[in-house]
């Protein structure tokens, strides 16, 4: 009895490992990778003053989306170079990199990685899917939802678009005298229009 148990345990572990390996490799086989084309993709953001938007954009960022064997989006990851934030003028761009705002010299990159992506029924054409995951921005990690659409025109590329709102106080962007939000609003609109190309080997 005792000896059979001794043998049984490693067998189970091996079997589990094998199964896990099979799952991982099967995911690899089916993973369908897409990568944003930087020249044709746009990531915008707009804080507001007195309800009027102040438009900005990140010039350097990368989006990767992978799909499962049923062509369903499976994971989404985004990385954004904070120093590439452009709000139209040199004065503005200098100001937003200061410590009370983005503090880009310390927190050079923002990263989003999805945990789950669900397909949703929505009237909003830009919210076919919702990626739920962690956004790491200015050293703060927050769970956020990223709604997006996905379409594949005939040219072989894919189009992805979406819009969301982030609370800048959640990420300590605009601290001290700016934290109140009575001047520069707390809600920051973020939206994107991306062209992705297949990145399968």
């Amino acid at each position: 009895m005792r000896s059979s148990k001794k043998i049984f345990t490693p067998v189970v572990i091996l079997a589990l490992l094998g199964l896990a390996g099979l799952l991982i490799s099967s995911q690899k086989i089916y993973a369908d990778q897409w990568q944003s084309q930087s020249a044709n993709s746009h990531l915008y953001f707009a804080p507001s003053w007195e309800g009027l938007p102040i438009n900005g954009a990140f010039k350097q960022f990368a989006v990767t989306l992978s799909r499962d064997e049923n062509d369903q989006p499976q994971s989404l990851s985004v990385s954004v170079q904070i120093s590439s934030a452009d709000m139209g003028t040199a004065d503005f761009n200098e100001a937003i990199q200061m410590t009370e705002w983005f503090n880009g010299s310390t927190f050079a990159e923002a990263v989003f990685n999805s945990n789950t992506i669900t397909s949703v029924e929505s009237d909003d054409p830009r919210a076919q899917f919702i990626a739920q995951g962690i956004l790491q921005l200015k050293g703060v990690e927050r769970n956020i939802q990223v709604p997006f659409s996905w379409s594949e025109p005939a040219d072989g590329n894919a189009l992805m678009a979406g819009a969301l709102s982030l609370g800048r106080n959640d990420f300590a962007i605009g601290t001290g005298e700016w934290a109140g939000g009575d001047q520069i609003g707390l809600a920051v609109k973020v939206w994107f229009d991306l062209v992705l190309e297949s990145a399968n080997d």
């Binding site: 938007p53 139209g88 001047q183």
Partner: protein, 178 residues
């Protein structure tokens, strides 16, 4: 209480235009220098909102005033010589020009800087140009030069009024008062 000027007298409406713009300009000049001197802060934004709001008010007032002036009789100048008359009307012309150029160059500077404007926190002011660093510097430079010229002309303008009133005794200052 006739709104129309005569060859001798300014009407109360013309006087109101004059003193209202005078009051606004006397607030605007220090306000502009103060706003510019502040570090980027909520206070700076607020001071600039006041400066932009009052500036656009001057702009509107000057347009109405000029339209009114074109249609009105202008009282005969109190000049003693032909040269004085030419200098006086040149100064007045420059003053009107500056009262248009200052709000306009300010508007361009503001629009090119990509910061939205709501006059008196109520009325959104549309952008007349898109975000543009080069244009912003030029417009800001023009704005600054204009304000220094304005200060110089105002010194002459006030000096001349005082000289007429106190030294020449022709009641020039009184003529513009109610």
């Amino acid at each position: 209480m006739d709104t129309k000027n005569t060859t001798e007298e300014w009407s109360w409406l013309s006087k109101l235009f004059h003193w209202l713009t005078a009051l606004l300009i006397f607030i605007q000049i220090p306000l502009g220098f103060y706003a510019e001197s502040l570090r980027l802060s909520p206070l700076k934004i607020d001071v600039f909102v006041w400066h932009k709001s009052l500036g656009m008010l001057v702009f509107l007032l000057v347009i109405v005033r000029l339209l009114w002036r074109i249609k009105s009789t202008i009282p005969i100048a109190l000049a003693n010589s032909r040269l004085q008359k030419i200098l006086a009307s040149a100064a007045h012309g420059i003053l009107y020009g500056l009262m248009l150029a200052l709000p306009l160059s300010g508007w361009v500077t503001s629009s090119a800087s990509n910061f939205p404007v709501k006059l008196f926190w109520l009325i959104p002011l549309p952008s007349i140009v898109g975000p543009d660093d080069a244009l912003k510097s030029i417009a800001a430079e023009v704005h600054e030069i204009c304000v220094f010229v304005l200060i110089a002309i105002l010194i002459v303008h006030i000096g001349a009024a005082l000289r007429h009133q106190l030294m020449l005794g022709d009641n020039a200052l009184k003529r513009m008062w109610f």
